[in-house]
Chain length 162, copies 2
DNA sequence: ATCTATTATTTAGCGTACTAAACATTAGTG
DNA sequence: CACTAATGTTTAGTACGCTAAATAATAGAT
């Protein structure tokens, strides 16, 4: 089948190159984990009619609305230019409304519709189904969340300074 | 740790809803960390003329080549349909070659060109610059990588069973 | 040898995700 | 009360990333 990795020296000298190995990259582990995560969410979100980023946006809006595009952008760490088409699709689906703030017409206020709010009830099944699907140890999850939180803070520092 | 609950009641009852909070989602932490990571890589990879996924592909090919599209796909956890256009761009840039395997013409073999191999020398600066940029504790990084590895294994199990 | 099933790659269509630049509104200054 | 600067949103253009379906070649069984 794959022939596995027994003959790894097909290309790499290996004495100096350890740090260019894919497996050494934490970023690759994050990239992989994140991709797998959205892949697992897909079938769980499909009955809600949401993609994974759309689900995140609805989570943010269920917690706090109305919100401006900028607020949602800040919360999710996505550029406004990324959110605008996503929000338009949610509006198209009848889950949110977008309207100019009358007191400051630069802003666009985003708010779930009744239908959008009702969806929240169905969404409650998602975290349950998920933790059931991946059968995860709560303590390990908490530890992972803590480490990721610290790491994210560090990354944010690096992006803002650069 | 609810943290900033000051005005949280704009929308959420909060008694039952803890598990729908954005901050409770490990997937969101992964999503955020992964996004920040590629954002930090961007300026480091720009002088190499690579995007972040292209960098991952080159790492895989520097370790082992020639590889088929499927092998790279398997290694990176990306669908062949995602890789084909990415590889075409790398070919366009003169960094790799794509040719049919003459012994099995179903396969396409991918291999770095001389220029692609030469790029590896310049790439050595990237992990250094990165760890410098985010100034991270090695022990903490190793712990994060270990936890992520376990988590990824669990996720892979979940996707294959579904 | 031909038919079928399998494997491998590509195409088509949708939905993020980014940067840079355009556009619109507001706020501050003379 | 124009003028400029700042703020907020959208558009344009490029590059992932997925699923489903189309295409192509091989391997196995009659």
């Amino acid at each position: 089948m794959t022939g596995t990795v027994a003959d790894e020296a097909r290309q790499v000298p290996a004495e100096e190159a350890g740090f260019l190995r894919l497996d050494q990259h934490v970023c690759f582990a994050l990239y992989t984990a994140s991709g797998l995560m959205t892949r697992i969410y897909r079938p769980l979100l499909e009955p809600l009619g949401l993609t994974y980023p759309q689900y995140l946006a609805m989570l943010a809006l269920w917690e706090r609305s109305p919100s401006t595009v900028s607020e949602v952008s800040e919360r999710l760490g996505l550029e406004p230019a990324t959110l605008t088409p996503l929000l338009k699709r949610l509006e198209q689906a009848g889950l949110i409304t977008r309207r100019r703030d009358e007191t400051d017409e630069r802003r666009v206020l985003i708010e779930p519709t009744d239908e959008g709010r009702a969806l929240r009830e169905k969404a409650k099944a998602v975290p349950r189904d998920l933790s059931c699907a991946i059968g995860t140890d709560q303590a390990e999850l908490a530890e992972l969340r803590r480490l990721l939180g610290d790491f994210i803070d560090r990354l944010k520092g690096a992006t803002s300074r650069e």
